[in-house]
Symmetry: C2
Subunit: 253 residues, 2 copies
Amino acid sequence: MGTTQLESVPEPKYWHLRTVLSEALDSEFEVGEILPNERDLAARFGVARATLRQALEQLELEGRLQRRRGVGTTVAPPRVGVAVGTPDHTWPGTADDAWQPADCRLAAPPAAVADALETDRDEPVHTVRRSRVSHGQPVAAELLYVPPASVPELTAIDAPSGPARARAVLRELQRGDLERQESAVELGSAGADDAKELDRLPGAPVLVVTTRYLAGGRTAALSVATYRADTCRLTFGESGDVQIHHGPQTQAS
Amino acid sequence: MGTTQLESVPEPKYWHLRTVLSEALDSEFEVGEILPNERDLAARFGVARATLRQALEQLELEGRLQRRRGVGTTVAPPRVGVAVGTPDHTWPGTADDAWQPADCRLAAPPAAVADALETDRDEPVHTVRRSRVSHGQPVAAELLYVPPASVPELTAIDAPSGPARARAVLRELQRGDLERQESAVELGSAGADDAKELDRLPGAPVLVVTTRYLAGGRTAALSVATYRADTCRLTFGESGDVQIHHGPQTQAS
DNA sequence: TAGTGGTCTAGACCACTGA
DNA sequence: CAGTGGTCTAGACCACTAG
């Protein structure tokens, strides 16, 4: 990071700063390397700390930086591709299962979920909580809603609750033949519980993947999964791993 | 918004404020209604304007609010579902074409794009710029990279450049038989040009959809599309419109 | 305990919109 | 023009991590 001054330009300081830092990251830093602390960086560029932080937030949103309280700011590795489009990676129990069941409860779901499942609003459904790990890092937290009708042979004795119960539900669910799945992706922010599971602070940006599993002409299950937006790239279809995007698009015209 | 004071809680003020406002939005406001201005709101809750703004930013990220400089803050309508998983909605020229070609240039693409296309890094490719409109609002800006080999019958005479040229390229491209497509979704921020096209400020959060189109065993084209993260929900597969998510996930335990 | 990022304040000025 | 959100400052204190 050679120069230490910002020219006066009509664009916001924090945006210009973002660009300068981004180029510095490309040319002068290695993945995992720690940056100078925020107070030093702000002084070096002659801006207030809040302005510097605005630039860092942008870069973190783009997956270029990783910040941890009490530790520092490090250069983030490229985002990991996470397959979500094919049943292999989400329908429970398939071979390379990166999902780890955490809990299971029987309770009435949110109204919107009940509507999508076509169950009564106060009819309890199995609610499985799972977390997904990739490359040793937690990447997603999921709530899977399974109406009792989808797991008819589930015996109450298997296990009362907890991970064992969750596995029993998933095992029974998998006996059904999945026809197809429909997904939607949108931006959201992590709630307190998801944040803890994803090792982030509350409000951290997440990609919310809502998936409806269809089997036997019915909605067999419905999943709401939150993926870390800073570290994940969601892939659909054959896991063809296209890695193109890097920073805001700029078109020389 | 009845109460005007925040209790002292161990959670950040802006987060608590976000929750309070979110509930107020559900119960006391209609879509399109304008909120009091930031200075009034901050005073009403007894916090600094910056803190209030942090809460509003969260809600905007979640698609609950829409803020426009010089105008005010309004309650946003639910996100619109935008189909991106099936060729019908992205492969050029299909029936219900919501895409509007804006420009076309012949130029060497970014290195990463050239690698994915399996062309030489300095080999020029057709670069089509399109924008997608839904419900009268711009929702996406796209750069479509088409190697000359994918449009062999394109005559240089059709049109030198501009929208007409873009349409010619798309028309020729469509003559190929699309086998399948692979997509990836990640979070990004809008560059200056995308931002203008999407009617947002630079740095606005976008969902970057990178798609590789396969035809005749080759990569026929590659697209990098940026969708407004605040207003869009990307749907994959049959356009089954699951609308579940609303605010951070909270699990009563 | 020293150093980091996270939160919060109270101001100021700017860029933009619409009447 | 008045009013809005957007940017920026210079501080302060807190929560967390690691030696």
